[in-house]
């Protein structure tokens, strides 16, 4: 394990541990409004100050960290399952089925992503419950993010299907189901893991973009993206308001460091 990977694991572990630890303390409430301290500067009580409603920015950031990391991973898992199913069927079946699915994947990849996200997300009523809007946002990410991993999975399944050891297994009279479960799937694991790790930072960034435009989880629920909205205020030049940006950048860098690159080992 390289120093870079150790750093990434330590930093992500710290982010997760502090955000989940803070969730256990009643003091750190993301929605409690301290009306007597609106727009306060950083202090011992509020290390990152408070927002215009007097809510503790530190508490909101930690809460957002929890939500963004967990839901980005969940969305990545969802996208991966879709990618494995669609890419797997395309690669394994081949023929017209493969051609149709590849055209579908190409279509997904050629859609104007951000526009589509905005359009679909904007269909949701603005007064939707915060939790509904949160789930909808990440479900949307998973539903739109499967195409590029599916393409990789398809290529992997295809080369495994045509591999010598699958041919050998067929020559021994092994059934197609066993070939799929014991020969194709286990050798696909490194590919699936790589796609899982690379999708997480992508989803974190996409959610941040949506949140900045006000299309992520509804108030009062904080996510990294929704915290960025505060930066739209031109008067807000305080450095502490950029803490969510730092958290996003740090986590994305860590995930990039963690995602396996090139020559995997079986």
């Amino acid at each position: 394990m390289t120093a870079r990977r150790l750093f990434a694991i330590a930093a992500l572990g710290l982010l997760l541990a502090t955000s989940f630890g803070a969730g256990l303390l009643p003091k750190f409430s993301y929605s409690a409004q301290h009306r007597e301290f609106t727009d306060a500067a950083p202090s011992l009580r509020f290390p990152l100050g408070t927002d215009e409603l007097g809510r503790d920015r530190m508490a909101r950031l930690l809460s957002a960290t929890r939500v963004s990391l967990v839901f980005a991973a969940a969305a990545s898992l969802g996208a991966l399952i879709l990618a494995a199913l669609i890419g797997g069927v395309a690669g394994y079946c081949g023929g017209w089925c493969d051609r149709a699915l590849v055209h579908g994947i190409d279509l997904m990849l050629s859609l104007p992503w951000l526009f589509l996200l905005l359009a679909v997300r904007a269909l949701l009523p603005l007064n939707a419950a915060p939790l509904t809007s949160l789930l909808a946002t990440y479900a949307l990410l998973a539903l739109l993010g499967w195409a590029s991993p599916a393409r990789v999975v398809r290529a992997g399944v295809r080369s495994l299907r045509d591999s010598e050891f699958v041919l050998q297994a067929r020559a021994e009279g092994v059934t197609e189901l066993r070939i799929l479960l014991r020969h194709v799937l286990p050798n696909l694991r490194p590919i699936l893991l790589a796609q899982f790790w690379t999708s997480i930072p992508l989803f974190i960034l996409t959610e941040a973009n949506l949140g900045f435009l006000g299309l992520s989880a509804g108030e009062p629920f904080p996510t990294w993206g929704s915290l960025l909205r505060e930066l739209q205020d031109p008067l807000l030049v305080r450095p502490e308001a950029f803490a969510p940006v730092a958290a996003i950048a740090l986590s994305v860098v860590c995930f990039k460091l963690l995602s396996p690159r090139g020559g995997y080992q079986v």
């Binding site: 045509d162 050891f165 041919l167 050998q168 067929r170 020559a171 021994e172 092994v174 059934t175 066993r178």
Partner: protein, 258 residues
């Protein structure tokens, strides 16, 4: 004597018709038939066609294919699966890539038995027959931890596990060094003698099959140009291509003591 396997097959790939054009082949029970031809002459295609594995590679097989008078081309895929591995075994060319890299070899051997379960497996006996260790520490290895020669022996063990009547070996020694090559050739001769197994031995190297095979068939551009006993092929080659193959055999330079 009634032939064990008789074939008269033509094979097309999409966009590449006539890869095999009416290849006529008969293998008697217990016989070792050598199939020799240069790269691209259709040797591996023929090996796959005999097991009806070509559809998985996009090819189509026409003609006649009979195993003990049973029409293999008329069998359903399910019935054909019962033939593969149990009545006809196959050993592929590159031993390391023919083994699943994510599976312990012991597990792979067991899987090859479980594909048919028609008798209790004589696993230690089979491993001994191919001169492989039988201890668990060996069977727990992954293919990447084997030498090429060991991997080839594992493949052979898997192919003879069900004591098939015919063993097809597709260039089984081309990835091996000269010493291991000689050992594997001897192993095939022994399997043939001990188990009475017929062998279709495919090679690009006329010299290596000379000592092993009873008869030799010469394949050129998808057609069999000559079939004869090994002695006849070497002493009285009929076809121009056979003569060219014989001339291409490297000679020991005269300055070397033999």
């Amino acid at each position: 004597m009634r032939p064990l396997l008789s074939a008269f097959v033509s094979v097309d790939y999409p966009g590449r018709p006539g890869v095999l054009q009416g290849v006529d082949l008969e293998i008697a029970p217990g016989e070792i038939l050598g199939l020799v031809g240069e790269s691209g002459s259709g040797k591996s295609t023929l090996a796959l066609a005999l097991l009806r594995l070509l559809p998985f590679r996009g090819g189509t097989t026409r003609g006649e294919l009979r195993l003990r008078e049973r029409d293999l081309l008329a069998l359903s895929e399910r019935q054909m699966r019962a033939v593969r591995g149990r009545e006809i075994g196959l050993v592929l060319q590159s031993p390391i890539s023919a083994l699943n890299p994510a599976m312990r070899i012991g597990r792979q051997i067991v899987e090859s038995w479980q594909a048919h379960r028609d008798h209790s497996p004589d696993l230690p006996g089979t491993l001994e027959m191919v001169s492989l260790p039988t201890e668990p520490s060996f069977l727990d290895r992954y293919p990447s931890q084997l030498s090429v020669g060991q991997a080839q022996r594992v493949l052979i063990a898997m192919a003879i596990l069900h004591r098939p009547a015919l063993l097809i070996a597709d260039e089984p020694t081309s990835a091996l060094d000269a010493v291991t090559q000689a050992e594997i050739l001897k192993l095939f001769a022994r399997l043939n003698r001990q188990l009475g197994m017929a062998v279709l031995y495919i090679s690009h190297d006329l010299l290596s099959v000379a000592s092993l095979c009873h008869r030799i068939a010469i394949l050129q551009q998808g057609q069999i140009v000559e079939t004869n006993t090994s002695e006849e092929i070497f002493q009285r080659p009929q076809h121009a291509y056979t003569q060219a193959l014989l001339r291409a055999i490297p000679r020991v330079p005269e300055f070397l003591p033999v």
